[in-house]
Amino acid sequence: MVTRTITFSPFSRLEGDLQVNVEVQGGQIASAHASGTLYRGFELMLRGRDPMDAIVITCRVCGQCGLAHSAAASAAIRSLAGISMPPNASVAVNVMMAIETVLSHLTHFYLSFAPDLVEPPCADKAMERFLPPGGRSISRALRAREDILGILGLLAGKWPNTLALQPGGTTRPVDASEIRRAHGMLGEFTEFVRDQVIGCEPDRWLALRTAADLDRWLGEGSHAGSDVGLLVALALERGLDKIGMWPARFLSSGGWPDSGGRMLTRPGFYDGHPAEMDPARIAEHVKYSWYDPSEGGVPPFDGESEPAPERTEAYSWTKAPRYAGQPAEVGPLARLVNGADPFVMDLLAKYGPSAFVREMARLHETIRLLGEIGPWLDELDPEEPFCRETPRVESGSGIGLVEAPRGTLGHWMRVEGGRIRNYQIITPTGWNLSPRDSEGTPGPLEAALVGTPVSDPDRPAAVSHVVKSFDPCLFCTVH
């Protein structure tokens, strides 16, 4: 059989620079290699610096999830210093992280994912909504941002690149009138979600428990005419439930902890059944990455990031993170599977870990998080403190694991003589778009692309759907 090799680069409407090389046999992808191609050297930049500098510098890894990076850096320093945040700060961080995630998911949906579904020819109704740059739904989504950005402004001052998340808590106390104002802005944003995104009250959506519930929902009222209703129809029509699958294992560090340490979504490693997640089982491989070679998997605390662009067997600036020696998928789907969300578990049972289910999990999480913000705002107590002091620590190590919009994000920091000795970052897209490891095992996207049909190399619609279902951020990946 004839094998053709095709290179896709760059992808349009994607965060950062991604190159995908595929071998096509009989009209289907037989193997895929994913490369992150932009190197910036953040980990080396941090060496020798004051540990607190990590908060300033790592949030600049990514313009879209910088708040998660500064949360991870603060958490790493917090673990290094052995301190905790006051309850108000935990709640404020949850609100900020939830807003960053909601914004990220909706930006992905409206500006990246949905436009691929309406490449002409397509139903006029869908094109009119989702075709960039002027699609009506895109326009409404951009206008609605200000309602929820306003809450972020009250709590974080500025974004991207807020420094409000300190190891000891948050820098911005809020008073009762500001909490009131935040509720008002949340209400306006929820109106947009109700009228445009799902076409129903969020509670109606959150009552979905099974795939059959989704079918019933689509048949009710004007739901089929909402943006998500349209997405479901287009995605199933185009077979997104049949592409993008791999023998999925799902990793999550658990997201949105309350002050008692309970999490909105549980940490775990799901490989057909739930299991505890142990950060000590994370290691990174560089056999196929442009860094100085090392044997097998290296724990992040000992990781090195010396560039070696001359290495010919390497093909990516992304390292290959592995959990217990295996590739793992992270992100909204992984969070909701580990959190045993009934709706997502049933979609997974019916449609498999496909591009369709990944996208549905992202939208479902958006609605779930939005519903948490109001109760969290009510938990803030203006009479109680938001921040404690952080003692200086001369030596030791700290780890910060958070759930960024796109999945599990980890910062590992070693400090000696009051200075950063080593800093290693493992990002969500690092997990999802990892290259092959020392054993030659492909990363999740590389595996998920196998079997994807490729008819016209100039219009690789199915390839693009699979890639984007992981919501890759190449800025984060290669840092």
């Binding site: 896709f8 680069s9 760059p10 349009s12 409407r13 620079d17 490369s35 932009l38 190197y39 910036r40 050297g41 080396l44 930049m45 004051d50 607190m52 500098d53 300033v56 510098i57 600049r60 990514c62 313009g63 879209q64 910088g66 990246s112 436009p115 960039p132 740059p133 326009s139 951009l142 941002r145 950005l149 306003g150 809450i151 402004g153 009250l154 709590l155 974080a156 001052g157 500025k158 974004w159 991207p160 690149n161 807020t162 420094l163 409000a164 300190q166 808590g169 820098t171 911005r172 106390p173 662009p309 203006p382 009479e383 403190p385 938001f386 921040c387 002091e389 100039d458 693009s464 800025f475």
Partner: protein, 335 residues
Amino acid sequence: MANLLWIQAVCCGGETASLLNSDHPHLLAALHTLDVAMLGHPYLHRQTGAKMEQLLAECAAGEVHVDLLVVEGATYLTVPHPTSWATGKPLAEWIRAIALAADYTVAVGTCASFGGIMACGRNPLGATGLQFYRNERGGLLGADYRGRAGMPVVNVPGCPAHPDWIIGTLWALRANRLTASDLDRFNRPHAFYGKLAHHACPRNEYYEFKASAAAYSHQGCLFENLGCKGTLCESDCNERLWLARTGSCTRGGFPCLSCTSPVFPDRFIPFFETAKIGEIPTSLPLDVPKAWYVGISGLSKLACPERLRRNAVSFKPAWRGKEAQSDDGNPDHHV
């Protein structure tokens, strides 16, 4: 309609993210008002792969006219840009070629303007801004570069830049309302960089009386102890406000790091505390002579009202109107 080509170089996507945060107008309305077509943009263009390279070649050759070239991110001088965003040629070379064909070149963000975060520390990869490397003229395009309309690179720094600064600069260029005399010594438009971040900071009353916060989340001024560079930072952040006009760095309770400066970030270390010799900060407010600062700040501290002295080191108002009593104990003299 004018053509706008937006190129992401060595960046984090933060300028694009900030632009999406634009309100009044939101981004699509802004593009409509500007009457520009996005030839290339990470979200709003539709080219993939070889088509993108073809577009860049046509822009460089002048076959497609570029009215506005916008660059986000630094470029690498010493190593070829390792990205294959445009296959076959380092991105820095594409930018050089297209900048010569474009009417105007605009550097959005501190990295594109001066190198910024991407050029911090030892800068082993030689990251640089388009026409400046830190505060020295030169950069990728050289000090003598002029676009076809006769202008140097217009710098719109900030980490990230405020969406108003980006859209406002593009608007002024489209309307022929921006000339070389409207730019400051670092080629930033006076309109946005002619003030200080300090102006309209809600902590200014604390600043005046040197009533300083001792720890984060306190209400006092962040200048004396907590590393705030707002009195050095040329921007209008606290007047313009961010995120649906609800915040700014100092309103968020953390120090301004002067991110619009060509020497951001390394000249502003330590970030979170104020470097001092004795009691005197080593970086004094812009244009304020040291002797005056020492004299005035000593007097202000002596004159500081009790209300400010107490609130400065508290996370919530510790001194409330009617409960307050003036120093002479007379409740009628409350502040």
